[in-house]
């Protein structure tokens, strides 16, 4: 059932791949604007680069997450799947995994923009990829749940960030700190602790949100 749900999600994402480019441009523009705010101070730009990267990804994520339920609500397609019957958890994890892959891709695409704008490169690319994957997982699990909750209300574009942002502060903080240590250097080997914290929050988010999704989408 999970494979069926994931296959459907990836197909839907592929069909709306044009939107992914728009979201990337939005994220890249946010990074550019942050660099204007700091000014021509190369050291400060580099210091804040990880925070800006994750802010850019966070702002972009609200667009992709909200959009992921647009097709489901247009003709009540999600209700149609639930009535087949489909397991709500499989539908949730299918969508959350698809959103996670999309956010990971977006995060990876924003890294070169960050390197160019902030001169914030690193040779630890695998470690950076792992942090982006874990951080994106921390955004997508609760983001998918809240996107489902807000998908039927009129002010969803406003409600989603309002509900989501406070919940993901721990994961976001851990992601920023771990990324910062990868870019700026980690003489005390602190990044492991932040990565472990991030993974622990991911575990909590993915377990709890999967359990709650059925209650959110059923009457």
């Amino acid at each position: 059932m999970l494979a069926a749900a994931l296959r459907k999600e990836l197909l839907l994402q592929w069909r709306s791949r044009g939107q992914m480019m728009a979201v990337f441009v939005f994220g890249a523009t946010a990074l550019l604007l942050f660099s204007f705010a700091i000014g021509p101070n190369a050291e400060m730009l580099r210091t804040f680069s990880s925070g800006f990267l994750w802010l850019g990804l966070l702002l972009s994520s609200t667009l992709t997450l909200a959009e992921s339920f647009h097709g489901e609500m247009e003709n009540r397609a999600l209700e149609g799947l639930l009535l087949l019957p489909s397991d709500p958890r499989a539908l949730y994890y299918g969508k959350a995994i698809a959103n996670w892959l999309q956010l990971t891709l977006l995060g990876c695409a924003l890294v070169p923009v960050m390197v160019i704008l902030y001169d914030a490169g690193t040779l630890q690319l695998l470690k950076l990829l792992a942090i982006i994957m874990l951080g994106a997982a921390g955004l997508s699990a609760p983001g998918t749940l809240y996107a489902a909750m807000t998908s039927q209300v009129k002010a969803k574009q406003m409600l989603l960030p309002l509900l989501l942002f406070p919940l993901i502060v721990p994961a976001l903080l851990a992601s920023v700190k771990a990324t910062s240590l990868v870019i700026l250097g980690d003489p005390m080997d602190q990044s492991k602790a932040w990565i472990t914290l991030l993974a622990a929050f991911d575990l909590i988010y993915w377990s709890l949100c999967g359990l709650l999704f059925g209650r959110v989408v059923e009457d």
Binding site: R7, R15, N75
Partner: protein
């Protein structure tokens, strides 16, 4: 499955302060076709959504195939299919892909998808995205969805809506085929004369209440 396919007892459902269904009770024998008539807003769609487990009743009990629509929701869903006002389709996917999604979630082979598309007259448009379909074509594809499910109980909410004359014939043909297979069918429609040719029973709803329940030929148009 019991001899009674659908058993509704004092079911009530409200939206805000307004009761869409109020103390509705009736029984539907297995393998019969029931026509539900009533004006717009009489509660037909709400009744169908309760029976399909899309919404819960606020009061009363409803059983489909002996399973309670609240407690045994998944069992009810396994044996029921609904043609709703919402067509449950993904606009960005093709007709074939939409049915493939259904087949995958039902864990049945995708092999039957093209046969179903031929049955509902959409084989030539199988690979066109649903966004390019007319309302009638979407209705046909929704019918295809139901045929793929092979349910024991079918709930058809306005099956003739948006269809052209060949579409009307298709609906008649599908209903007769389902009836031959022993499927119990409940159908909300305004096409009373047409539906009466194969209906075994009629229920008339008015302001959320059953005002008449009888064998098909007894209710005047």
């Amino acid at each position: 499955m019991d001899e009674v396919a659908i058993d509704v007892e004092r079911v009530a459902r409200r939206y805000g302060r307004r009761w869409a269904l109020a103390d509705v009770s009736f029984q539907v024998p297995r393998a019969s076709v029931v026509m539900v008539a009533g004006r717009n807003g009489a509660g037909k769609s709400t009744l169908f959504r309760v029976l399909a487990t899309a919404i819960r009743p606020d009061r009363g009990t409803a059983r489909v195939g002996g399973f309670d629509v609240v407690r045994d929701r998944q069992d009810v869903r396994r044996m029921t299919a609904i043609l709703s006002h919402a067509n449950y389709l993904y606009d960005t996917l093709s007709a074939r892909e939409n049915l493939n999604v259904v087949a995958d979630h039902l864990r049945i082979s995708r092999g039957g998808v093209m046969g179903v598309l031929e049955q509902v007259g959409l084989a030539v448009r199988a690979d066109d995205v649903v966004a390019t379909f007319s309302a009638g074509m979407r209705k046909r594809l929704s019918f295809g969805r139901i045929l793929l499910q092979e349910p024991k109980v079918v709930l058809l909410d306005e099956p003739y809506g948006a269809l052209d004359p060949p579409g009307f014939d298709l609906v008649d043909e599908v209903i007769r085929e389902l009836k031959r297979r022993g499927t119990t069918i409940m159908m909300a429609t305004h096409q009373l004369e047409r539906s009466r040719t194969y209906s075994d029973m009629e229920i008339v709803l008015e302001e959320g209440r059953v005002v008449r329940q009888s064998a098909a030929e007894e209710v005047p148009c």
